[in-house]
Symmetry: C2
């Protein structure tokens, strides 16, 4: 239905159906006003009682991106479970899984290859699953708006492994919680359709089954 | 920039900028194929390792909607913190807050006024905040796709207060976690711009401040 492309789009369903993980970026910086358009779209997401409990950190500074990248690489290399996961995936017979995992590892080792990294933070609310309803809708608006404007992103929670380092590097207060680490830049690769189960398989009419 | 309307749109940014909480619905049922278009859009959200750890329950059955509505009303009436919150809001000098809270309470007491209620469930993964990254992006795609197709929704976590009842009513397995309760229907009210802080106020360039 939709084809691969690197161009932006103002078609709603094209954006939805072709927003995919972009893990390789051109080195060109993204203008601040374009980043602000992406982030303004994020702020239009639903917010209970209109509290807007979020702050978006945008790391463009090369030295800070380099420091994040090195911390992340060291974390992944020292974490046996993560290493096993990535290595087993890289040897998978499933080509798409293999590409995804080698791409994810490559990205994790070189997160600073993206000209900017966005770290959305939840500034109040619950640390439990349902607390995610206050921030991830905004994160998804961000990813979609980037795609509509021709910018690539990939949603990661790599922040989890380097939380202390990130807080120190970026001055994140204790009460705030980073919820994702999102590289953003002009894509070196195409947007395009993703493979998903047929929708009928994930819908329960009037009950689970 | 964008005006109020009840019509659908295929403009990406119009959908993003005018998706707002719709708390009043026409009684007309929504055709199943339209609900499936909304839910297919949900499945196109990012999913780590393409695991798609979700199931979407769609409650159209009138008796089941009525049972949910009564359970929710009883829960809210017996929960002092919730009652105080809604009552204080209803007396607020801030007109927009007053309208939102009286609307939310009205909705909670009559959730079955919507012709269908969608309950997205996370089927695996963490019960912590970051686990939300596996399901709420799909939830936001759902809300946006509904708006693009001219359907109203409002993101609530009303499921939280009636979790046991919902599990029994809908046969939700223990390992799955309902993450939201979303009425959906043709809007009796307009889509339109929401009020948010200027984006510059919620962005930190290269650090928190």
């Amino acid at each position: 239905m939709y084809t691969s492309s690197r161009e932006g789009t103002d078609s709603f369903f094209e954006a939805i159906y072709t927003q995919r993980a972009i893990r390789r970026f051109k080195p060109d910086p993204v203008p601040d006003d374009l980043l602000l358009r992406v982030l303004e779209a994020a702020t239009k997401a639903p917010s209970g009682s209109n509290q807007q409990p979020w702050r978006f950190l945008v790391v463009r500074d090369a030295a800070k991106r380099k420091a994040m990248s090195e911390a992340l690489k060291a974390h992944l290399q020292s974490n046996e479970a993560m290493r096993t996961y990535f290595e087993s995936g890289a040897q998978s017979d499933d080509r798409s899984k293999r590409l995804m995992l080698t791409g994810a590892l490559e990205l994790a080792y070189h997160i600073d290859a993206a000209p900017a990294v966005i770290i959305p933070c939840l500034t109040s609310g619950s640390d439990r699953l349902l607390g995610g309803s206050s921030i991830y809708p905004a994160v998804q608006n961000l990813l979609l708006a980037a795609r509509a404007l021709g910018l690539g992103t990939v949603l990661t929670t790599f922040n989890m492994g380097i939380d202390g380092m990130l807080r120190e590097l970026l001055g994140i207060p204790e009460a705030a919680r980073p919820v994702a680490l999102i590289p953003i830049g002009y894509p070196d690769g195409n947007f395009g359709p993703t493979r998903r189960k047929p929708v009928e398989e994930v819908v329960g009419w009037d009950g689970w089954d």
